[in-house]
């Protein structure tokens, strides 16, 4: 079955198979990254503490406990194709917040270090250890685009189904 979106320029992007593949890839990515953090809770707690956004007990501990679990849960939902719109929206919001925090930290390091922006490397707590800032921002931009795309396609499909039922 092919679903098309009014006004879409890239019709191949509207194919159901593409949506499924991207959904499984995005879900799998978040399951992997979430498990990386959940299996090393102390390391993730240290990173959350370093961001200095939440430092007081119990909030810093709560963030370190909840975020990895939430990522894994949303990833599993995306892979399974359950509550896809809700899971994609939650991941999109998380990615937006993470990206803002990573940029803020990178700018602080850039101001204090004398390195060029793309030469900055640090463990952003995203899973996978130390990473270059430009690579991480590119990665996040792609993930956000995929989440937004999945969200849009599923919202359109649900909207069409609602119209058909009426």
């Amino acid at each position: 079955m092919t679903s098309s979106v009014p006004g879409s320029r890239c019709r191949w992007l509207d194919r159901r198979e593409i949506v499924v593949v991207l959904r499984v890839l995005l879900g799998g990515w978040f399951v992997y990254m979430g498990l990386e953090k959940a299996l090393h809770p102390v390391d993730f707690l240290k990173v959350v503490h370093q961001y200095e956004v939440v430092r007081s007990v119990p909030w810093v501990n709560l963030v370190a406990v909840v975020l990895p679990g939430l990522e894994v849960f949303c990833g599993v939902l995306l892979v399974a194709g359950v509550a896809v719109r809700g899971a994609a929206l939650v991941l999109l919001l998380l990615l937006s917040a993470f990206t803002a925090l990573v940029v803020q930290r990178a700018l602080a390091l850039h101001a204090g270090g004398g390195l060029t922006f793309c030469a900055i490397r640090f463990d952003c707590g995203c899973g996978g250890g130390e990473v270059g800032i430009c690579r991480k921002l590119t990665e996040n931009a792609i993930l956000m685009w995929v989440a937004l795309y999945i969200l849009r396609m599923h919202a359109v499909r649900r909207n069409d189904q609602d119209h058909e039922e009426k």
Partner: protein
């Protein structure tokens, strides 16, 4: 208008999506809390994992530290006593070290400790304090001098370990931190023990 596509599809973004997202978020949070509760690696929600030293009314403020390295300055500013790499080596060679009157404590996690630590150093991963305090605390209570280290540089684990030992009743005058930590110890090619404490697997000091 550049935002026209967004507005064109914005009507699809209503109609229960936000309610669904709230449901997903709530279920995810509850599952994460449940998983943390049953996991052996789970964190305590109420514990302060980053304790700091209470201000010592008897200590004078650190002054004239312009030539001191930033890590040493930071430690002194936070009220910790600091030992240099030479002093740590002297403590290691001190005969009282063998009698456990001088104690060296490694504040890093298992992986780092097993990979290499100062020979004879006790491990005290303060994030899992309950696992280590029964061994470390009695030794520290009888020791005259305790040197604590972690990776070195920006690593703050030794600070939190010392703060926790002070909270547990060890006099702060006996506790010292090595700012260079394991990085400096290795760079000086001092002996390193791998595996558990007193494993006997020791890489000798370089000539």
């Amino acid at each position: 208008m550049p935002f026209a596509p967004f507005f064109r599809y914005s009507r699809y973004l209503t109609g229960g999506i936000f309610a669904e997202a709230c449901g997903v978020a709530l279920a995810g949070i509850l599952l994460a809390l449940a998983a943390n509760r049953v996991s052996p690696r789970g964190l305590s929600l109420t514990r302060d994992y980053f304790p700091s030293l209470a201000a010592d009314p008897g200590s004078a403020p650190a002054v004239g530290q312009s030539s001191v390295n930033p890590v040493t300055a930071r430690l002194r500013e936070r009220g910790f006593q600091v030992i240099t790499g030479d002093e740590l080596l002297a403590l290691f060679r001190d005969p009282r070290h063998v009698r456990e009157q001088v104690v060296i404590v490694d504040a890093r996690g298992d992986e780092h400790y097993q990979r290499g630590h100062i020979p004879g150093a006790f491990q005290f991963d303060h994030y899992r304090a309950a696992d280590f305090l029964p061994v470390v605390l009695p030794v520290c209570r009888t020791a005259e001098k305790i040197a604590v280290y972690c990776t070195g540089g920006d690593c703050e684990d030794s600070e939190h370990a010392v703060a926790l030992l002070v909270q547990a009743g060890i006099p702060r005058e006996r506790l010292w931190i090595s700012p260079g930590g394991m990085a400096e110890w290795s760079a000086r090619r001092n002996p390193i023990e791998t595996g558990p404490r007193l494993s006997g697997i020791i890489q000798p000091a370089a000539p």
